[in-house]
């Protein structure tokens, strides 16, 4: 997870306790003016803009990602199924032509 957080949010010396943050309903993430805003997505496609490393790490820990790579897996699988079907169709067509 730490590696994933570093990839998405960048490096930091902070080692936050996410459980503590999650259990504290009054916790407020402070904006870091030096932190470039990052847009994160959840599996539903919801979007959040994070403005500090801590906020970013917290969301990444909750499963949020920077792009739809995770969602695309389904699309990828579907693409492979369709590709195999297409190859089968072309092959059967060629076979039918040779047979004729």
């Amino acid at each position: 997870m730490q590696e994933k957080t570093e990839v998405i949010c960048g490096e930091s010396d902070l080692r936050p306790n996410f459980e503590e943050i999650g259990n504290n309903p009054n916790f407020v993430f402070e904006n870091d003016p030096n932190f470039e805003t990052i847009r994160l997505f959840d599996i539903e496609g919801n979007v959040v803009n994070v403005n500090s490393w801590l906020e970013c790490a917290n969301y990444v820990n909750g499963g949020w990602v920077t792009n739809f790579t995770n969602l695309i897996n389904y699309e990828k699988n579907l693409f492979y199924v369709l590709a195999i079907t297409s190859i089968f169709l072309i092959a059967s067509n060629i076979y039918a032509k040779i047979k004729d």
Partner: protein, 651 residues
């Protein structure tokens, strides 16, 4: 069996796999539905909620894993609404497979070799890709991950492969069925073939594919294509402002949702190929059509439309399934009650167009009976005819009913009166008598008032709040001083060019006591209840001189809709006349060509009363309806223009 599996399987297999069951939808359980999205399948939901005390809405932008799942709930007007997830890619596949299975039910004949199939598939896919890239806003609304970037864009790759597979299978199937397709023309009123989350229609794609084959096959088509190129260039070059999104609503699949270079390019060429395709099919098979079989299919399809309309109103789940599998442009009527107390559209997007269809089916039955001199119908046909009559009654299309009566009467005269003088006199009196009676009974305005009613309606949708009022609070429009309004400098941008023209014509002709075009249009519009609709059209229609002549391209009303600011830029307000729609698409030039073509067809078939009656019935109704904006009515119209090959007097 396969059809049943295709209807049930997509909504059952992607279930939660959990032992917990979804709660019953009630006011206090909506919160649960909102917090447990994308978990339970539509089938699991239906098992718990067999009643019909809720509504189903479609969440078109769901991801693949959330397809067919319950993706939320709301309470709208005190009625619980649940959202069922659908997905752009899966819709494309599931709906296409279902329709291919239906297509396979068309009886086979000896193989008809189609050349240029592969090149046609290739060009079709290129055109479809252009379509997807041109209507980005529409697809972004319908898919969370839609993008036109090529890198890792599996959605786009999958769409290309899906199109390839559909067209490949279709191309193999069509060679053994192409000559029987026309028998199934009426069924496009049952299965409209519009994809749920795409602005595409399978019938349109299929005919486009066939049309490309026809382009390569016939020299005449190639010549026409070359002549067409400058028009496409003109339509593209006349784009002044790109418009990203237009809500196509009930005309989905047969009209553009954007106005830009690529969208005009796609709809211009695809429309040409679509026309080539249909005319090609007519050309090779219409002479062999058995009119009795065709009659049965028309009666059956009209009855099926009524049947599906009725069952769609019984339960929200059935309503959803008919929408999805029949490829409806919009979900069917959810109740048996009429819209605004006057019309019931059922599964059709428009009560008006389906009313015309029912009336046409009845008229065709009468025409064929007279043509064949055989007035007996089978028991089935009588039942179907009665169901069509019920459909016509429910659609409450008064114009279609009146024209059905008039043209039936006219046909009897044309066929049975042999004396030429009596025939001419009786036809003349029918053509004069009915409109006069109609105008006397239904025109409640004086000639003066009806001649300017259209202008008042046009001004009502124009942004002219700046007009000064007199001591009684009346504007120059209330006082019928229309020309004064357009002379104002502020009006330059606010008044559409077409309204400007109509006002000028009205103003100066009135002074000179000349009859004018404004009075003519307004007086015709008033008794047929089109003053408001046509008034809105002229209030919005703002062509430049060149687009007035050539239009903005086929199936593209976006510029008409948003090109000029008015009070009627929200909600889908159609022109309510197919002639006006053609005017937007092809301009005065297109209208002239259309009229010349109609005249040519009618004059060359002047001794064919059956043809005459059917064509005129359609033309009269098109004057006041938007039917040509719907793919099924459009194809029926083109088919009717070719029935002279089927109904030949003296045979």
């Amino acid at each position: 069996m396969l059809i049943v599996i295709l209807i049930i399987a997509p909504w059952t297999i992607n279930n939660s796999g959990s032992l917990n069951i979804i709660s019953k939808i009630e006011n206090n359980s909506i919160g649960n539905y909102q917090s447990t999205t994308c978990t339970y399948s539509f089938f699991e939901f239906l098992v718990q909620n067999p009643e019909n005390n809720y509504l189903i809405n479609i969440d078109k932008s769901a991801t693949i894993d959330c397809f067919s799942k319950i993706n939320g709930a709301d309470k709208i007007n005190e009625i619980p609404v649940v959202y069922v997830g659908t997905n752009l890619n899966l819709d494309f596949i599931i709906q296409a497979i279902f329709w291919l299975v239906l297509f396979s039910l068309i009886p086979k004949h000896k193989k008809y070799n189609l050349e240029f199939k592969n090149i046609s598939i290739f060009i079709s896919i290129i055109l479809i890709l252009i379509h997807f890239s041109s209507e980005k806003a529409f697809y972004s609304f319908n898919s969370k991950i839609f993008s036109t970037d090529w890198q890792n864009n599996y959605l786009l790759y999958s769409i290309i492969l899906t199109c390839f597979i559909i067209l490949k299978i279709l191309s193999d199937m069509v060679e053994r069925r192409i000559k029987n397709i026309l028998y199934f023309i009426p069924f496009i009123f049952v299965v409209s073939g519009t994809f749920n989350s795409s602005n595409l229609n399978i019938i349109y794609l299929f005919l486009m594919f066939i049309g490309i084959i026809a382009l390569f096959k016939y020299l005449g088509n190639k010549l026409f294509f070359v002549l067409y190129l400058p028009f496409v260039y003109f339509w593209i070059s006349s784009i002044e402002n790109n418009i990203a999104f237009f809500d196509v609503d009930k005309i989905k699949g047969f009209t553009s949702s954007a106005y830009n270079l690529n969208s005009v390019f796609f709809w211009s060429y695809s429309f040409l190929f679509f026309m080539f395709g249909f005319l090609f099919i007519c050309n090779i098979s219409i002479n062999e059509i058995d009119i009795i079989k065709l009659r049965l299919n028309f009666l059956l399809s009209g009855s099926l439309v009524v049947l599906f309309s009725v069952i769609s109103a019984l339960h929200p789940a059935i309503n959803f399934l008919t929408y999805y599998y029949l490829g409806l442009n919009k979900t069917a009527s959810k109740t048996f009650e009429s819209v605004e107390g006057n019309a019931w559209r059922g599964i059709s997007p428009s009560a008006e167009s389906i009313g015309e269809f029912y009336a046409f089916v009845i008229l065709l039955t009468i025409v064929i009976a007279i043509y064949k001199k055989n007035y007996s119908l089978s028991v089935y046909e009588v039942c179907f005819l009665l169901i069509n009559c019920f459909g016509l009654y429910k659609s409450n299309n008064f114009a279609a009913l009146i024209s059905l009566i008039v043209f039936t009467f006219l046909l009897f005269l044309l066929v049975n009166v042999t004396n030429k003088k009596i025939k001419f006199l009786s036809i003349f009196s029918v053509l004069i008598f009915f409109p006069i009676v109609y105008f006397l009974f239904f025109n409640t305005y004086s000639l003066e008032e009806s001649s300017r009613k259209l202008l008042k309606e046009s001004f009502a949708v124009s942004n002219i709040e700046y007009l000064s009022t007199n001591q009684f609070g009346q504007t120059p429009i209330d006082e019928n001083r229309f020309y004064e309004v357009i002379l104002s400098e502020e009006s330059d941008e606010k008044i559409s060019t077409s309204l400007n023209y109509l006002v000028s014509q009205y103003h100066f002709s009135k002074r000179n006591s000349f009859p004018n075009i404004t009075t003519l249009i307004s007086s015709v519009a008033s008794p047929i209840n089109r003053s408001e609709k046509w008034g809105v059209f002229f209030g919005k229609y703002n062509p430049s001189f060149s687009t007035l002549l050539i239009g903005t391209g086929p199936n593209n009303i976006v510029d008409y809709y948003f090109g000029h600011d008015s009070k009627a830029n929200y909600g889908l307000i159609l022109p309510h006349s197919s002639v006006l729609s053609l005017m937007i698409f092809f301009g005065l030039f297109g209208i002239s060509v259309f009229l010349l073509w109609c005249s040519y067809k009618l004059i060359s078939n002047r001794h064919n009363p059956y043809y005459f009656v059917l064509v005129f019935f359609f033309l009269i109704n098109l004057l006041k309806s938007d039917s040509l904006l719907y793919i099924n009515s459009f194809l029926l119209f083109i088919f009717i223009f070719n029935v002279n090959h089927v109904l030949k007097p003296g045979e």
